[in-house]
Symmetry: C2
Subunit: 102 residues, 2 copies
DNA sequence: TTGACATATTGACGACTATCGATATAATAG
DNA sequence: CTATTATATCGATAGTCGTCAATATGTCAA
């Protein structure tokens, strides 16, 4: 996964707010919209979910007429590992075992 | 450090190319411009260095009429640790010891 | 002080993107 | 089949951002 694509997916307040909501739970689009409490409306949330999905940062599951989303923690961890491997080689071995990440 | 600011600093091809050059070495602005091999010119590099500096991702040192930059690997590692702590709690303990990062 | 070099800043322009309202698509209930 | 609910897509708009040419600032040499 390209580190620039990863960074771009994270480079937005609303998207990170959505990611926080999706951490460890499956939520429908409406749930997310409600959780953002009027900050943005449904089409905007769908737009961000699409971007996150393209970056592989969320998983999707269809349930009835809903689409349930959740955060892909493993993918996120791998991308962070790649960042450290690329830009912080002095810390790479110390903090993140390569063989576990790649 | 705000994860959104961190992500925005990384969310550009040219900026990541500059970061790669600055990994483990001190380079002047002209060195970086040369290293990018005509891709962008000097004002653009200065612009990106300013952004990276504001994000705390590079350190600066004055030497004569030059300004030498280098990548702050520790800062980058800390930010990645914060991302994992925030968005991948299931992997946090496993991959990155908190007390070493924060 | 003057000239040359290194870097930063400014202003303009184009590309991208976050957001919205409106609408289309999909799936269920009656 | 029709109505309703859930989500995605479209078109438009405003704001952000990367880039450049031109210029300003700062530093050293002669």
């Amino acid at each position: 996964m390209d580190p620039v694509t990863f960074a771009k997916a994270l480079a937005d307040d609303t998207r990170q707010a959505i990611m926080k909501q999706l951490c460890c739970v499956w939520l429908s689009v409406s749930d997310i919209v409600d959780g953002l409490d009027g900050r943005v409306n449904q089409p905007t949330v769908s737009h961000h979910l699409k971007k996150l999905e393209e970056a592989g940062l969320v998983d999707v599951r269809k349930e009835g007429r809903q689409r349930l989303y959740t955060l892909n923690q493993e993918r996120l961890t791998m991308c962070c590992g790649l960042l450290i491997e690329t830009f912080a080689p002095d810390y790479h071995g110390a903090y993140i075992p390569v063989e576990e990440i790649e």
